[in-house]
Symmetry: C3
Subunit: 369 residues, 3 copies
């Protein structure tokens, strides 16, 4: 297949460095979105057609026919193969051509790229980079989303008009809740209380404990008890694109900071922010919980508190994220200025940059050979 | 006029070679569209204003006032002259300035470009290239459209969002009927039966005879007889932009392949696919016939079978043509891969490229001088 | 503040020279538009947020937070300071940072650019260039608009899609009235009668006296007397962006050309055409008068005669201005060709070019040092 695989290239704007690694598993769709039909989606600038084979497995092919580039997603599913809607050329789920019209011999080089696919945690993940490096062991941890222990229903902002890293900045520094979400989940304590940042090669964690504070209204209701609480926000980013925020409250002094959350209520916000292009992304989100797990009305309420015709808290973020992207487009300025609150986002960006750098050819080394 | 005539230049994107020759007669409008009023149209990246003079002749001027570039099409027709709507400057149908406001002496260099025009076969044709080369003998043959022998009513897709050559590809290989038009005119025989390609300097012909096959429903109705038929598709492209498809059926074995079509029914699809820009075109189409010539309801039925609020067979093609153009814009890849079925389109592209190459300056020769 | 002030740079398209000087007072808004709230406006490619301080003074800051470029206009006014809506960073009306979230020490370099502001003649003016050069003495004369002696109500075409100089061309040559406004204020005399152009370093004046002519309908009504008139149009452009047209009629032979307008009626059209970008502008307009000053219905009638759902005389101009800009974009051609009628516009352009040239660095001089 090598001959027809396009090189892993940078952004359309060659002057700017690519903003995402190619060799990573990216959330491409919710499992329920991929059926016995063709679904087009662009991931890391790759146009991809997704579908489910007769054995139920998800498949992902380059969404451009080998012959004349017509999107295969305009075609038909024939068993496990995709038939181009224009001239009937067929490709199997490995991308190999299995039929050409009006000729018996198939050009042996005819194929489209097939992307490695894994389905896990209620999502379909693709690897847009070098297939030889697509190691299942590199799948990010997103088990909170699998619908077993934790309960919740989320959604997706498709083609959100911002660099996916702006969303990571947003989630890895919750200071913004005080200002953007002043009317709902904001709390001065988030700004006042110090936080701790730790990191490994792939994971950055921001930990903030607000001890013995008045419970915010949402959490007070879930806890169902009066009195002060210990509140935690432990946000984990597994670069390049997964953020999980372990959040909750427990009655003050019942040992939550030391590890005993048995008296508290615990939720988690989940985000898989998949780059679509350099300046757009698909922001898959969910909010899951361990409390009142059978309360379906609560599930719906939490879902619509996050996204609801422009009035949810994530809708409020979207206004800022897209405005920020437009401003970056108008005023390119490197680097961003950083505040203390940016330690989490900053480490995420560093780890991402390192992943990207590891993928890049090293011209000086080659020149020396 | 030479001083004010812009050089014949390439596309906005200097990196890509121009996709159309300039020195050719191009269908600019249907005759009935050009009246005693100003009509703007862009042909081969030239903004042109078309109108009919008092003697009934069609005229074509550069649609940008010499003075300050305001489109003349925003102005008024005064006799045979065009008056700019902004400052009243007037130009005759040769493009020469005949009036300037508030001054008696007219700047002798003031003019706009006049394009050679021929009206023939119910269409107005312009020559966007060097007027000195505009030879009426180079008019393409489009006599099927003149309303005398052959009968039919067509239409135009204005500013269709694709390179005109994608439409030629489409019409010169009818294999796509089997897939794009599976619900109507498609037929497996089109894919199964071999075809023959011949060509001269300017004309490519693809000939396919499907002998002794079951008649497709449309043709069976027109023939009004049971039994197998010999079906023909003889498609002729006169580069750069005219395609005529001689199509029909005759009762099997009555001699049609050998030249006796007297027992059959014969129609022709006509296309004048005029480049508007590198990535858009005006696709003038018609379907004419020699059978049931007085049946006006049949004329209307055939017209709406081709184009009808997105449901006609040509509407089905448009979806693929525009998707293909978008894909080309996203994934520039040279050259296209070809199948056996592409022999016709491929020869058309070669003849077009040769026309373009003949227009281009030869830098190496100049360097040698 | 120097460290964070962006250099005064040219247009996005580096190939084209900038079309406006930066060191000038530009009308940014009507006084009544600027309140105790944040208003975003782009002037000379600078994104600016405007507001009124508690002491009533207008302030203008760079509309991009120092931290991460989020538009400050999405934030809140807190007293005299602006709070960024994303992370709560605050800036005072001089652009200095006065609060950072979650840290006590403020980065001393943290600031946004503050633009010099003057409020005068019912408008708020900003100086987008070097603040050190912002001399109030350089304010253009726009006293006709101040609501004391002259009476009238105008409006603004925001983000009009043309280079502001095309509007100056339009107003400095009223020949176009005969063609664009043939149905209303046009008059053949405007084309037939010669005019005089004078200029200084900053002001171009076009003077046209049409003596002993039939009064145009509008002016005849205002004069309330039969008989021929002496009509004047004395148009004054104070570069780069202010045009004032002193217009009126007096009974023929009563001495108006010699300076005695006591028998006549006198109005003035006012224009502050502020560049938004290289190809868009905010066109603030007004028509004021010295006659029937208490007639509020006349004020409304005159206003809607100029702009009224696409049917006013300025609406007619807009069609040409935007079409001209589109044509310039498609057919870049330097220089424009000029007619005699262009003497006024041409001198305005020359003075503007001189202002721009005076702002540019002189590379040869630097090289010599």
């Amino acid at each position: 297949m090598a001959a027809t695989q396009p090189a892993i290239t940078g952004p359309a704007n060659a002057a700017a460095p690519r903003g995402f690694p190619m060799n990573a598993w990216y959330a491409a769709a919710w499992s329920h979105e991929i059926k016995r039909e063709l679904t087009a989606r662009t991931i890391c600038n790759k146009d991809i057609v997704l579908y489910r084979r007769t054995d139920g497995q998800a498949a992902a092919l380059e969404d451009a026919c080998w012959h004349r580039l017509v999107p295969l997603s305009l075609g038909r599913l024939k068993g496990d193969d995709v038939q181009c809607g224009y001239h009937g050329i067929e490709f199997n789920s490995e991308g190999r051509c299995t039929f050409m019209p009006a000729q018996k011999t198939i050009n042996p080089s005819a194929c489209v790229r097939a992307f490695p696919v894994i389905e896990r945690h209620r999502m379909v993940w693709v690897w847009p980079g070098d297939p030889a490096l697509a190691d299942p062991a590199k799948m990010p941890d997103f088990h909170w989303n699998d619908g077993t222990e934790w309960v919740g229903e989320g959604g997706t902002f498709y083609s959100l008009k911002c660099d996916y890293r702006l969303v990571i900045d947003n989630l890895m520094d919750l200071t913004h809740e005080t200002y953007v979400h002043a009317g709902s989940i904001g709390h001065d304590a988030i700004v006042d209380v110090p936080f701790e940042v730790t990191y490994t090669d792939r994971v950055v964690t921001v930990t903030r404990w607000m001890k013995n504070i008045e419970a915010p209204p949402f959490w007070a209701r879930q806890l169902g008890r009066d009195g002060n609480v210990d509140r935690w926000q432990i946000i984990r980013c597994e670069v390049p694109h997964i953020v999980v925020g372990d959040v909750g409250v427990a009655p003050a002094g019942t040992g939550a900071p030391e590890g005993d959350r048995s008296q508290g209520v615990n939720g988690a916000f989940l985000a898989a922010i998949t780059p679509e292009s350099e300046t757009t992304c698909h922001y898959h989100w969910n909010f899951v919980r361990l409390f009142h797990r059978d309360d379906e009305e609560l599930t719906r309420k939490i879902q619509s508190a996050h996204v609801s015709n422009g009035k949810g808290v994530y809708d409020e973020d979207v206004v800022f994220l897209e405005a920020q992207q437009r401003a970056i487009g108008r005023h390119p300025r490197q680097p961003f200025y950083n505040l203390n609150i940016d330690a989490g986002p900053m480490w995420c960006r560093r780890l991402i940059e390192k992943m990207i750098a590891e993928e890049s050819p090293r011209p000086t080394l080659q020149a020396a050979e």
